[in-house]
Subunit: 327 residues, 2 copies
């Protein structure tokens, strides 16, 4: 992962520069929550993937960094607004913006972040600006669609695992896909390579989200930076829950449905009981299988990208590392 | 205003087409509040101004309509999110989105509208796309800044009339300015003309907002589509209130401050009492004077635009009509 850290450092230096420039803007109350959000950190996977895709074709990083910033800014914007909608209190171990500042601040500073991502995108090299703008805009809209599907699922009784995979495809996977394709386009990749990298990112993103759901239930608060078991407490229709609902019968089904419909409960007790059911139905293994199948599809697409193998090694490495993370 | 209605019909036909296409998108719960918002109607001043500026240079309206749609969509997005932040119940006599649907819907459908405006902008003719994108993005960000200043003012004791004019410049006037400049740019106007039209729109926008504030206090609910006196009830720091605070002394000052700090009050009684003070201090006349001065500056800029007088007549006419509206 040495190379990941090299690109991360490159990106972080640029981000730091941008944060300094945001500090000079007014009104302070608009930009402070933006800076607070950016300073929460994170793995910066999307911008690093963008830079990795780009450097398979070019090495003038300056021309790819604005798009990397745009994507990281947009990603942080979606987290900020999602946290309001999900009434989340913690994000990466920081108090969420709507609690630290206010709901109004979180809405408006989020809106500004969405537009700031376009401000950065405008600094793309003119040769590929139009393609990158179109890709980014399509992606941004689909992410909103994914978030709406996610919210719709809360009130639906018949969500299938396939619906769930479609939803996380929109909500999570396509931004990884977009990052890789944007990097490739800015680097001057062929349309075919750009699309293969998109598909690589898409399936990697699915695997990544399946793992995120596993970590939400089986990670540890400190490493993961969210309250563990939050999805279980909220009856969030993850792969684990949907697969359990599909498989459960008899006493287990009765117990699971009782847990889901209970109006008042002890949070930790609910988490323990639901995880006990997950264990009985072996859904963690099924989720891992699905994750591995998505991962294998991702790798197949990367295999086909028409550049020297040695140029792809960083992407192979980061994909494999992402699957081993515990936070 | 016959020509205004001609361009409005042209725009509305395009908008109707877009609404039909939005009806086919999924998830329905994301796009329904967007369609609901667009169907609230409105004068569509911004897109019509864009088309008027455009037709001073070109007459292939198809190439200007996407930008007109983008600006109307963005304007409606800001209204939608502002209504959440302002906890407004009515907009153009319709229930606001956050009440009709939910706060979450209003946030997310608003986010989608902001991105949809970029989707429309991507259909701009390539020759001027980059300039229009830059102008639009700068404007969009400034509008967020204006909204933040507006919210900041609620908690500040020393807001001046100059601060207020700066705020409405950002929050309202620059989108009119941007509409005119975008239309001019797409039509191929010189940079100088485009800037003059921007300045025309900016000052017209200031006059327009000053009038809006007057209508909020002195209009009638049915015509104006909002609850009359809402600004007064909310202690909103409008020109009328700020000028009153500047001028009030003795008993009037005491009474005004008591009205502003009262925690429980009868809404209609408060509106009556504050308007009584406005009358005593003659601030309506002062506001009208400021409005006329902004209007005169607007016209001066339009005078200088280097096209035949006959081509400007529609803009002169619409500017003059806007100043005579009662809703």
């Amino acid at each position: 992962m040495q190379h990941y850290h090299h690109l991360l450092a490159l990106f972080n230096a640029k981000l730091e520069e941008e944060i300094e420039s945001l500090k000079k803007r007014e009104p302070v109350n608009l930009y402070e929550p933006v800076i607070y959000t950016l300073n929460m950190g994170g793995k910066r996977i999307r911008p690093v993937l963008l830079l990795m895709a780009y450097e398979m074709y070019q090495n003038r990083f300056e021309e790819a960094l604005p798009a990397a910033l745009a994507i990281e800014m947009f990603h942080n914007f979606t987290l900020l607004h999602d946290d309001i909608m999900d009434k989340a209190d913690l994000r990466r171990n920081f108090q969420t913006v709507h609690l630290k500042y206010s709901g109004e601040s979180a809405i408006l500073s989020g809106d500004a972040m969405s537009i700031l991502s376009y401000e950065y995108l405008l600094k793309c090299p003119a040769t590929h600006a139009s393609e990158v703008f179109t890709l980014f805009t399509e992606t941004a809209l689909k992410i909103c669609e994914g978030q709406q599907f996610d919210m719709d699922f809360e009130n639906l009784h018949d969500v299938s695992v396939a619906d769930y995979l479609k939803m996380i495809g929109l909500k999570t996977a396509i931004l990884l896909a977009c990052s890789l394709k944007a990097g490739a386009l800015i680097g001057g990749a062929s349309d075919k390579d750009a699309q293969l990298l998109y598909d690589f990112g898409y399936h990697l993103g699915l695997a990544f989200q399946l793992q995120d759901d596993l970590l939400d239930a089986y990670g540890t608060t400190n490493e993961f930076g969210k309250n563990i078991g939050g999805d279980i407490v909220a009856n969030k229709k993850t792969f684990l829950l949907l697969k359990s609902l599909e498989l459960a019968s008899g006493n287990i089904e009765t117990e699971l449905k009782a847990l889901l419909s209970a109006k008042s409960f002890d949070k930790n007790e609910k988490i323990r009981a639901v995880k006990n059911i997950y264990d009985q139905l072996d859904v963690v293994r099924l989720s891992e299988n699905e994750m591995e199948s998505c991962y294998a599809k991702a790798i197949k697409n990367l295999d086909k990208v028409a550049v020297d193998e040695c140029k792809k090694r960083h992407l192979y490495s980061v994909a494999s590392q992402l699957m081993k993370r515990n936070s």
